[in-house]
């Protein structure tokens, strides 16, 4: 999955160059063919036609379920929602000081963050091209602020490179780009690219490499004030006497290659992570809460679904009220939109055909762990001038993400001290008691920030396989499973249709959940008005 090859082949290098530089060309080619860049959202849904009093039961009050509730009710349906949790949102979730969370296995954590500080254990960023999420935020009055994905002053860290000393992203990015430009300029000058580049383009290419790579007049990348304009200075320009700047020394290309730090650069180049990204002001759950302001009156919380039956006349859902009696209760409706994660749905007695059942059983759930840490002060800002963004490391914590809000304030701060997904470390951290996850994250993070031990106050750790309402982070489709089962998962089976991130090609993203829901209810509505 995230594995890497031992050696960098020529093809890898070219791919990388493409990733770092040339994706613009591919992007233009794709968009000219028709909006490769948006998610397929076509604006507010229009469900024309009379549902004639038809009723729909929606299972799950996450973003998929609440989208369905909001839009179907608006279209004239009688809707009711059953939700396992005592709150709306599902994986759209924020933990703040005073909140408590009990994971499977019984470990209870109480968040001790200072008021106003929070962590989003689930989704935490919104790409600018996730048009459906953005549109619902606008319609529901959810204020957004930038999520900083690339901070040139954050760091990249490899335990076995540079003596374990973290490197500034701007240094790695500029030096890598500069030295590749120098290589390409040399190859061009030596006529080695003559077959690939026309004579006319060659001169322009040389200009471009000089401009883009910070090369000098001889097309060399060196420690001078040209490269310093990009990578920063060893002595920054100042005022008055003795204020002249001094450049730093670039990091050798071979060292960058061997360090593997280049592999993190794609986190700043991939379409999903390109600027501008957003986060809701005050926490991701502002979206779930905004939906609930619209549809909260039809949500029954603390309802654990235990069975879903259907016949020619309607759907019957059996559930237990977790806060009241253990006696099973039943809810009936003409139709059902089920957004229950497949990790759970695959365990329920469910009246659907074999093909949908096979599809429900075909999707394993990914592990993921997020750990929020509160520190006495925002040392990353005060000591290191890191304002938001993400540092990446090959340590098990994978990344440290700094808060993208409350900049430059004195006092406490909370950062994301680990985001571990897939692979052995995610399982190893899931297997630890929460307090140990936090301790480990502090120990490991000290390799990037030596201030950790002295400044750390408290933390909270969410391992998604221990989360009672999902039993995992998100549906992890294999290509073969998708080819065989995806359509059967999405098709309406009698009176039941499934929705959620698992029924999308944008798994684990809120956009996938909403688009899947809009698509499902559009098809359901078509069926209703035609029968």
């Amino acid at each position: 999955m995230q594995s890497e090859r031992a050696a960098v082949s020529r093809r890898d290098l070219l791919t990388l160059i493409g990733t770092v530089s040339g994706s613009a060309a591919m992007y233009h080619a794709m968009t000219s063919l028709g909006f490769a860049s948006d998610s397929g959202y076509k604006g507010p849904i229009k469900l024309d036609g009379d549902p004639k009093g038809a009723s729909v039961i929606i299972l799950g009050a996450g973003l998929a379920g609440m989208t369905a509730a909001l839009e179907l009710r608006k279209a004239g349906y009688k809707v009711q929602v059953l939700e396992f949790n005592s709150r709306p949102g599902g994986r759209n979730w924020t933990l703040r000081g005073g909140d408590s969370f009990t994971e499977l296995g019984g470990f209870k954590q109480t968040c001790e963050f200072e008021q106003g500080l929070y962590i989003n254990p689930g989704p935490w960023r919104i790409p600018y091209h996730h048009r459906a999420v953005l549109d619902y935020c606008k319609r529901l009055g959810v204020a957004l602020e930038p999520f900083i994905q690339l901070n040139h002053n954050a760091v990249l860290h490899a335990t076995k490179a540079f003596g374990g000393v973290p490197q500034r992203i701007r240094d790695i990015k500029t030096d890598f780009q500069g030295q590749i430009s120098e290589l390409l300029a040399k190859a061009t000058q030596q006529g080695k690219l003559d077959e690939a580049v026309s004579k006319e383009d060659r001169e322009i290419l040389m200009q471009a490499l000089r401009s883009w790579g910070a090369l000098d007049a001889n097309y060399a990348y060196k420690g001078n004030l040209i490269s310093a304009d990009f990578r920063g200075y060893s002595k920054a320009p100042g005022g008055g006497l003795g204020a002249a700047p001094a450049p730093g020394e670039p990091i050798d290309l071979s060292e960058i290659l061997k360090s593997r730090l280049w592999r993190y650069l794609q986190n700043f180049a991939l379409h999903t992570f390109q600027t501008t990204m957003f986060q809701p002001v005050g926490g991701m759950d502002m979206i779930g809460k905004a939906f609930a302001r619209e549809v909260g009156d039809v949500i029954r919380y603390d309802a654990k679904v235990t069975r879903i039956q259907q016949d020619n006349h309607g759907v019957t859902v059996t559930y237990t009220d977790l806060k009241a009696s253990a006696t099973p209760q039943q809810a009936k409706a003409d139709w059902c939109v089920c957004t229950i994660p497949l990790s759970i749905l695959s365990q329920l007695p469910l009246d659907v055909g074999d093909r949908m059942k096979a599809a429900i059983n075909a999707v394993p759930y990914s592990p993921a762990v997020k750990i929020g840490l509160q520190f006495k002060r925002r040392f990353w800002e005060e000591d290191e001038a890191i304002y938001g963004g993400i540092s990446y490391t090959d340590l098990p914590i994978r990344q440290i993400a700094y808060p993208n809000t409350g900049f430059n304030r004195s006092g406490r701060g909370v950062l994301l001290g680990a985001y571990i997904f897939d692979g052995p470390n995610a399982y190893e951290f899931t297997s630890m008691p929460p307090a140990e996850r936090v301790t480990r994250a502090v120990e490991l993070g000290a390799s990037l920030h030596p201030q950790y031990p002295a400044e750390f106050e408290n933390g909270i750790a969410i391992a998604w396989h221990r989360v009672p309402f999902t039993l995992g982070c998100a549906g992890n489709w294999s290509e073969s499973a998708r080819a065989e089962h995806y359509d059967h998962l999405c098709r309406i089976d009698g009176r039941i249709v499934l929705a959620g991130e698992h029924a999308s090609y944008i798994p684990a993203w809120q956009e996938g959940a909403i688009l899947s829901s809009l698509n499902a209810i559009t098809r359901l509505h078509d069926r209703v008005v035609k029968t």
């Binding site: 679904v305 990790s343 052995p424 297997s431």
Partner: protein, 144 residues
């Protein structure tokens, strides 16, 4: 992903497993305390833990819990304690390697030896007492 001296390693592992299977598993080990996790963490995409106990404590325990009794929320992680489904050794081997429903496949992250080790541990602990140890060869054949 599994490269290199695979056949040699498999043969060696089979020999070791065969030798071990001659030993009976002490009854006192069953259900005695919780499995120990150890301080280390894996690097890369393969588990570094080699013993069945360590693998259980760092992988299976995440969902099935340290007593192997599972847990219930909106859905359930089944109990592996005194579980008759473990009687047929091929069943847990298949599930660990290829996954089942929501449970991820671990085949790509564990060697044949590791899968055999964790299955053998599970089948001789937590109230399970199946003496027919699985071998790495048994694991190899279920890889798809």
């Amino acid at each position: 992903m599994i490269q290199g001296n695979r056949s040699f390693r498999a043969i060696l592992a089979t020999a070791i497993a065969a030798a071990l299977s001659l030993l009976s598993f002490p009854a006192s080990a069953q259900g005695a305390g919780h499995p120990s996790r150890g301080p280390g963490l894996s690097q890369g995409f393969r588990f570094f833990e080699m013993s069945g106990e360590e693998l259980f404590a760092n992988v299976c325990q995440g969902c099935h819990m340290s007593d192997a009794k599972g847990a219930t929320g909106a859905g359930t992680y089944p109990s592996l304690a005194a579980n008759v489904n473990l009687r047929a050794s091929g069943y847990p081997v298949e599930i660990v390697v290829n996954g089942q429903r929501g449970m991820p496949a671990f085949g790509a992250m564990m060697s044949d030896d590791q899968v055999a080790a964790v299955v053998n541990y599970l089948r001789t602990h937590f109230g399970n007492n199946y003496r027919d140890a699985v071998t790495p060869e048994d694991v190899k054949v279920v890889r798809r």
